[in-house]
């Protein structure tokens, strides 16, 4: 029986080598939770066994229940009739299975009905669900909304809503985007009006809202009349009600199972979450970071599915009297796909793990004045901030490439609806766009690259004694670090804002390759069996890194200066 967890050696490797002891110890409050909850682990080993059992089940559900429904969900899509949204039959079925299996609240604490798992396990789960049906991830992934309520809302709100999320009785939506506020969320206009009794009502229009038909949603709205920037925005919780009208759902290229709604707010009753004015700058930023890791995982899942299809087809398809997998151009595509998937997975899981670590260090810091702890928390926070957008940018762009090549390997057959690769490409395509386009991720990562936070992280990873057979690769990794460092130095010395922005994509691409080089080398150091893929990836990545460094050093300004004539 197929199982996306046990059948995937790379996920297995990560699970075996997850460095979670400190995180789990904190989540389980020194394993004292075992005294109160009979599903809580008594030790780290016990916790890991439990994680394995749950992920094994999820891997089976993904492969055996959800994947067989994906093609039909794509064909049928979500429906919009009489002002109401209805999921495709397969989506309903999959949600019922996940609900019954208690998989809709991975990270929520047990007192609200959650599993109290580290976020990185949720990231793995998200990947496997996406491998089965990328559109279902948009509903499975909305667990981040409950997580945001848990992080920032008052206790009464938590007690009211979190158990409903945990039992899967409600789904959520994060309602941010407006027709004139896409990437630029600071210009959100949806109006929040405070009522005499202290409650709020919302007026305006939102669009491109994933699962906008949800029972419980978080909404970004302008609570400070006359304000124009992000500091006038607050976060509100709304329930589905007659004043909240779904005007239409979008007809999209991919992820057909996920309803994308246009919403009209006609005085929707709302409850303020947390403090006024912190809606965008604190809460949505936190929510988005979680969502970015989730989209990275979604992208890795889609790429994995595309790779599996492509390899299967290339082994079977005979042309010129041999299976096409024996032609160098074809096997190179497959080998590249596989090594890049592993690179993206390594970056995504590491970003997710750092996010877990940041959360526990921040909590620990609240009750401590230890300066060493403060330094460490700050350090981990700076790494998380740079790795998160890198994970999203790298994994999503990689997934589009992988799906593109998967169609290419199928030839004409891949262009046809009968094979799943065209759906995978359509589904992959959104991942470079939503939760912040690649271009926004580049902006998000730029700060942490220029500040040296990433270099510091890479040095910690890279400057150590490698096993002798890794000497050559370690040398290449050092070269990659140096290329990145000299590019950063160059840009800082130039101190030319336009040029830095113009080169930012190249710099971030180089940084992503450089990060992956280090993570894969680290894997090879821990396990000789990982050497081959590391070697393949590093061999492919080095010329790219050198090329980008050459671009950055070139001071080419022709596109900036002659853009009017060039475009």
């Amino acid at each position: 029986m197929e199982n996306y967890f046990t059948d995937n050696p790379d996920i297995q490797w990560h699970f075996e080598h997850l460095d979670l002891e400190e995180i789990v110890e904190a989540l389980e409050e020194g394993y004292t939770q075992a005294g109160h909850y009979d599903d809580a682990p008594a030790s780290y080993e016990d916790a890991r066994e439990g994680y394995r059992a749950v992920l094994e089940m999820l891997g089976a559900i993904a492969a055996q229940e959800i994947a067989p429904l994906a093609a039909e969900v794509d064909r049928e899509g979500a429906h919009f009739e009489d002002g109401k949204v209805r999921y495709a039959a397969g989506t309903e079925r999959a949600l019922k299975v996940l609900r019954q299996a208690g998989l809709m609240a991975f990270t929520l604490p047990r007192r609200y009905g959650g599993l109290n798992f580290p976020g990185v396990l949720y990231t793995m789960a998200t990947e496997m669900i996406s491998q089965a049906d990328a559109s279902l991830m948009n509903l499975f992934g909305l667990q981040d909304i409950a997580e945001t309520i848990y992080e920032f809302a008052d206790e009464p709100l938590k007690e009211k809503y979190l158990p409903l999320f945990a039992r899967g009785e409600v789904t959520g939506a994060m309602i941010l985007t407006e027709p004139e506020a896409g990437s630029d969320l600071q210009s959100v206009r949806l109006k929040a009006v405070e009522q005499p009794d202290g409650t709020w009502r919302l007026y305006g229009v939102k669009r491109f809202i994933t699962n906008g038909c949800a029972e419980v949603s978080l909404v970004l709205a302008r609570s400070e009349e006359g304000s124009v920037d992000g500091r006038g925005l607050s976060m509100f919780l709304v329930e589905r009600c007659p004043e909240l009208v779904v005007r239409r759902i979008e007809n999209k290229l991919g992820i057909h199972g996920s309803p994308t709604c246009e919403l009209q707010f006609n005085g929707v009753p709302a409850v303020l979450v947390g403090q006024r004015r912190l809606g965008l700058i604190r809460y949505v930023m936190s929510l988005m970071n979680g969502a970015r890791v989730a989209v990275a995982a979604q992208a890795v899942g889609i790429a994995q599915a595309a790779y599996e299809e492509a390899r299967k087809y290339a082994e079977k398809r005979v042309q010129f009297r041999k299976p096409i997998i024996e032609f160098p151009q074809v096997y190179d595509m497959l080998a590249r796909m596989k090594s890049e998937i592993q690179a993206a997975r390594a970056i995504t899981y590491e970003a997710s793990r750092l996010m877990d670590l940041r959360r526990i260090l921040e909590r620990r810091q609240e009750s401590s004045r230890d300066p060493a702890l403060r330094t460490r928390a700050k350090e981990v926070s700076s790494w998380t901030s740079v790795l998160t957008p890198m994970a999203k940018a790298y994994a999503s762009e990689m997934a589009v490439r992988a799906a593109y090549d998967a169609i290419q390997i199928h030839g004409g057959a891949g262009y046809m609806r009968e094979f799943p690769v065209e759906r995978l490409w359509r589904d992959a395509r959104i991942t470079t766009i939503y939760e912040g386009t690649t271009q926004l991720q580049v902006i998000g990562a730029l700060g942490g690259i220029l500040s040296g936070a990433l270099s510091q992280y890479l040095s910690l990873k890279g400057e150590r004694d490698y096993r002798p057979e890794l000497a050559r690769l370690a040398l290449l990794a050092r070269e990659a670090r140096e290329k990145l460092a000299s590019s950063v130095t160059h840009l800082k010395a130039l101190n030319d804002r336009d040029y830095t922005d113009y080169m930012s994509r190249r710099l971030v691409d180089m940084a992503c390759d450089c990060l992956a080089v280090h993570l894969l080398l680290d894997q090879a150091q821990r396990d000789p069996a990982r050497l081959l893929v590391a070697e393949k990836f590093i061999t492919d990545a080095m010329p790219r890194i050198r090329m980008q460094a050459e671009y950055v050093a070139g001071n080419e300004r022709i596109t900036i200066e002659k853009r009017a004539e060039l475009i």
Binding site: D38, P41, G50, A53, I61, V97, Q100, A101, G102, L115
Partner: protein, 294 residues
């Protein structure tokens, strides 16, 4: 309402490889993974669904070797309230007569009064489908086979839909009642994650010593702890169910297997009959001669 589900751990015949048949044609059980008999999962699902609708408790009982505790843990993870392992060396080698006696005996000694017994239609190893009807006979209760839907339960009666292949029947029967459930009835639910995290620690009587060694504790302490946390799998032998020793195990089994043939149908054993009156007449004649009919 009390629902008892009869379950069996069986070799995973869906994933048979070459080596699982011994030269004499019997199963080499050691080489096969052991799984929850698929149609017993359908019976469990129907029981859990009835519990969701009408309340009550679901008790799963199995007879088998100690490792059959695996399917009981699985049943707990899927939502069973209580599970019982019937295991005793003296139960070994039982045919359907001795098996149904043992199970019926366990029910009459410990699980009365019950409302419903739900069973899978048949097990994928023996394929006899004989145990559930024999249990019903021994308990003196009505039985309804091939139940694909429990439509309604009220006033001590159940309305059921039976799938008989070419037609369906809606029947009503009085409780207590035994039903058998085929694969087409439903899709069994998966384990629930929180239950899985809890009940993976459940242990049966045979696992107590190993558990005590692992925890470096005394067996009676482990037993008390497991019981207190609802993690003890009740384990009954011949004494616990006051069994008549002459009716259990190999000694209580009149069935004797004379010979096992491994039958593989090949293309040449097929015969085609033309679809006309003459052909049909020939076919019927052949079937009578082969004793398939009559």
């Amino acid at each position: 309402m009390r629902i008892v589900v009869l379950a069996k751990q069986v070799p995973d015949t869906k994933n048979v490889t070459g080596e699982v048949m011994k030269p004499d044609g019997t199963l080499n059980r050691a080489a096969l993974a052991a799984v929850f008999n698929p149609e017993d999962l359908n019976a469990l699902e129907m029981a859990l669904d009835l519990k969701d609708r009408y309340g009550g408790e679901v008790i799963v009982i199995t007879m088998g070797p100690p490792r059959a505790a695996d399917i009981l843990r699985d049943a707990l993870c899927r939502g069973a309230d209580r599970v019982i392992l019937l295991s005793d060396r003296r139960f070994a080698g039982a045919d359907t007569l001795a098996t149904s006696y043992t199970i019926a005996q366990a029910i009459t000694t410990h699980l009365m009064p019950f409302d419903l017994i739900a069973c899978g239609r048949q097990a994928i190893d023996g394929d006899t489908a004989q145990v559930p009807p024999q249990v019903a006979e021994k308990l003196g209760i009505p039985q309804v086979t091939y139940v694909v839907e429990a439509i309604e339960m009220s006033n001590g009666r159940m309305r059921l839909r039976r799938d008989l292949g070419r037609r369906e029947e809606i029947v009503e029967a009085e409780l207590p009642l035994l039903i058998t459930v085929p694969r087409t009835a439903n899709r069994p639910r998966w384990p629930n994650a929180r239950r899985l995290l809890k009940y993976r620690h459940a242990r049966c009587g045979f696992e107590l010593e190993a558990e005590a060694r692992r925890r470096r504790a005394e067996v009676h302490q482990v037993l008390a702890d497991l019981k207190a946390r609802g993690l003890y799998i009740e384990t009954w032998g011949a004494e616990e169910i006051q069994a008549d020793l002459s009716r259990i195990g190999l000694g209580g089994s009149p069935t004797k297997v004379k010979k096992v043939d491994s039958v593989v149908l090949k293309g040449r054993s097929l015969r085609f009959f033309p679809p006309d009156d003459k052909g049909i007449k020939e076919l019927v004649g052949e079937l009578i001669e082969e004793r398939t009919f009559g």
